[in-house]
């Protein structure tokens, strides 16, 4: 049973450039959130945004994989959910790159088991149910 949010995006840019956008803290801040990311396995960092009602705006992370310029992975913990974000870059040729995002809930915490299933690609099926 998949428990992963899986998305693909294509960009016209070099692998290195996209890698840099994923791993350079100041660039990362421009398209994700303020952070103290470092591309070092084991580095703990936070993404921070404006706190909202019921959320302190902080996402706690730890770098798991740094395999330049192809693969980057870190944990992503917030609001009691523990996920793993994994980026996979693939050169499609013609200057195009496919950027694949997987966000999986790999936590072994029983209490979060339900949340894990929220990440499954059940959206289509649920939508059908909701329309009924």
């Amino acid at each position: 049973m998949s428990s992963t949010l899986s998305l693909d995006f294509q960009y016209t840019a070099s692998l290195e450039k996209i890698w840099s956008a994923l791993t350079d803290s100041s660039k990362l801040a421009k398209w994700v959130m303020e952070n103290d990311f470092k591309p070092v396995v084991g580095h703990r960092f936070q993404f921070r945004m404006q706190p909202t009602n019921g959320w302190n705006g902080i996402i706690d992370c730890e770098v798991l994989i740094v395999d330049a310029p192809n693969r980057l992975s870190y944990t992503w913990a917030s609001l009691g959910q523990e996920n793993t974000v994994t980026w996979t870059l693939q050169d499609l040729g013609d200057g195009k790159v496919n950027l694949h995002l997987e966000q999986s809930g790999i936590t072994n915490d029983q209490a979060l088991q339900g949340a894990k299933y929220g990440w499954t690609n059940m959206c289509g099926q649920l939508e059908k149910l909701l329309e009924q």
């Binding site: 998305l7 995006f9 088991q113 339900g114 949340a115 299933y117 929220g118 959206c123 909701l130």
Partner: protein, 109 residues
């Protein structure tokens, strides 16, 4: 996460494949009694009944008595919470990807 008066988290309720299958079965029919539902599983009525109770606690299943029989039907609205949750992250990343695209373009200039 849940703001409804549900006894049970809807994410918990759908975490089990049997319960997801029950939801599916009920989605495909108006109403079904326990024995008809049980016929779809390799488990006894008691086991299916326990799963139905969990779905009821999450507000996903409603039941009513018709004579001596209890009939079950789906109430899909709590699933909205799951859809919203998945949609939030889906939207979150899609928005950020557009920003990444802009960043990559800016760097070229």
């Amino acid at each position: 996460m849940s703001e409804n008066n549900q006894l049970r988290d809807v994410f918990d309720a759908i975490a089990d494949p049997t319960r997801r299958r029950l939801i599916r079965l009920l989605a495909e029919s108006e109403e079904m009694p326990l024995h008809e539902l049980t016929a779809h599983f390799q488990m006894g009525r008691t086991a299916v009944s326990k799963h139905l109770t969990i779905l009821k606690e999450a507000g996903l299943v409603l039941d009513r008595k018709v004579g001596r029989e209890t009939r079950f039907r789906l109430n899909a609205s709590p699933l909205r919470e799951i859809q919203d949750w998945v949609a939030f992250y889906s939207k979150f990343w899609s928005t950020n990807m557009l920003r990444l695209n802009r960043l990559l373009e800016e760097e070229d200039e």
